[in-house]
Amino acid sequence: MKAVEVSRLNYTYPSGRVVLSDISFSLEENRTLGLIGPNGAGKTTLLLSLCGLMEFTGTVSVFGEPMTLKNARQVRARIGFVFQNPDDQLFMPTVREDIAFGLKELGCTAEEVTTRVRQSLSAVGLEGFEDRSAHHCSFGEKRKITLAAALARRSDLLIFDEPTRELDPGGRREFMGMMREIKATKIIATHDLDLVLELCTDVLVINGGQIIARGGPKDLLSNRDLMISNRLEVPYRLRDT
């Protein structure tokens, strides 16, 4: 079964500006898709549309379930979203409440919530962080807590928006290792082309709201013309010097 199937997706701002136009693609289960393109290409809007957070036209199906206004909630229950800025998604007073938020609605008992919170924190190496408040955590810790929150939902599809943006090189390396471990279908929007090379099985280049190219990471990222014309660049390890 396809994990994600998008067909003729369009989105226009209320101001009239076209953000996404005629986007169609599909992604097999357990693959990792890298979404690359310049700032303003429409990456974040596309990710939000996949979750039914934007009023798009066209069709989006997640694990065979078409996303409609009515069943958006059920479909979202299978998706975990790691947002660009951790502070936007850690909105509860304590880390425990942040990770537990919404788990009851997924059918977890109070006991299972506690277990899941503990397990997911330990999966990201933050044992015992339950009673902290996010404002006492470092940026790297907050980033990991957002991952723990996604893991606690045991989602089949994980979406990451610029996951390594503000991390230092060591923290980035560590976080990439954690992302690699997760068994799920993943979609990652990023400027970090090394990450795409290391983690992704498929790549989609978008620019100006349209799909420019689709293919394997090595093929696309080593294509100098494609990279330059979309404000990207060939990573060093793919350059022949």
Binding site: R76, F81, P93, E105, L106, S133, H135, H136
Partner: protein, 211 residues
């Protein structure tokens, strides 16, 4: 992060920190209310000063048990001193010697000390749980919860903007500064609004429907 120290004492551990938060809030409310009533009704009684000293001694014991640094508590209590000075000054100016100044000072200092001890030994989310237990309307609790989570970030944002303005502004006009503070505050509202939209998305992704 830079401002996280504001409530750092609540994150320590001691027998007082571990007490039931509802009990602590109720005790603090009762303590302040009792002082308010007694010092009003019996202000001419000779035993009242002894009661103040008794209360003070009791609070000192709690401070000792909670392991809170006395200096930091003193600094927090001192917030009230300008107000007390202003009150005394206004009385002196009117020619009326502050008849009950002693009671006022004792009462307000003890009240604020009790409040400082409460918030230094109780985490904010515990206070929110107490408010839920006491059926404070949900909309107020939710607003408090978001406010607590985000004002640390907003102060940092405001501070960053104020710094950027100090680096570039070498002038000395208070009028210019007032206008700029207003602009910074306006931008802060725009950012709060935009963050609210993103937070809403994050909530919806985890099944939030408003219930």
């Amino acid at each position: 992060m830079r401002h996280a120290f504001i409530d750092k004492y609540a994150y320590r551990d001691s027998p007082v920190h571990r007490l039931n938060p509802a009990l602590k809030v109720a005790f603090t409310l009762g303590f302040i209310l009792t002082l308010l009533i007694l010092s009003g009704q019996f202000h001419d009684q000779a035993w009242l000063p002894w009661l103040y000293w008794g209360c003070f001694g009791f609070l000192l014991i709690i401070i000792f048990l909670s392991g809170l640094p006395p200096l930091a508590l003193t600094r927090k209590v001192a917030v009230i001193l300008p107000f007390i000075l202003a009150i005394i000054l206004l009385n002196l100016l009117a020619g009326s010697a502050p008849a009950q100044a002693g009671h006022l000072i004792a009462r307000s200092l003890l009240s604020i000390l009790a409040l400082v001890i409460l918030v230094s030994t109780t985490r904010f989310h515990e206070i929110l749980q107490v408010l839920a237990l006491w059926r404070v309307p949900r909309v107020i609790r939710l607003t408090l919860s978001f406010m607590y989570r985000y004002f640390f970030l907003l102060i940092d944002e405001a501070e960053k903007m104020a710094r950027a303005f100090r680096v570039r502004y070498q002038g000395n006009s208070n009028w210019e500064k007032l206008k700029l503070m207003s602009v910074i505050t306006g931008i802060l509202f725009i950012r709060s609004y935009e963050r609210a939209e993103r937070v809403y998305h994050a909530m919806v992704m985890r099944g939030y429907t408003g219930e």
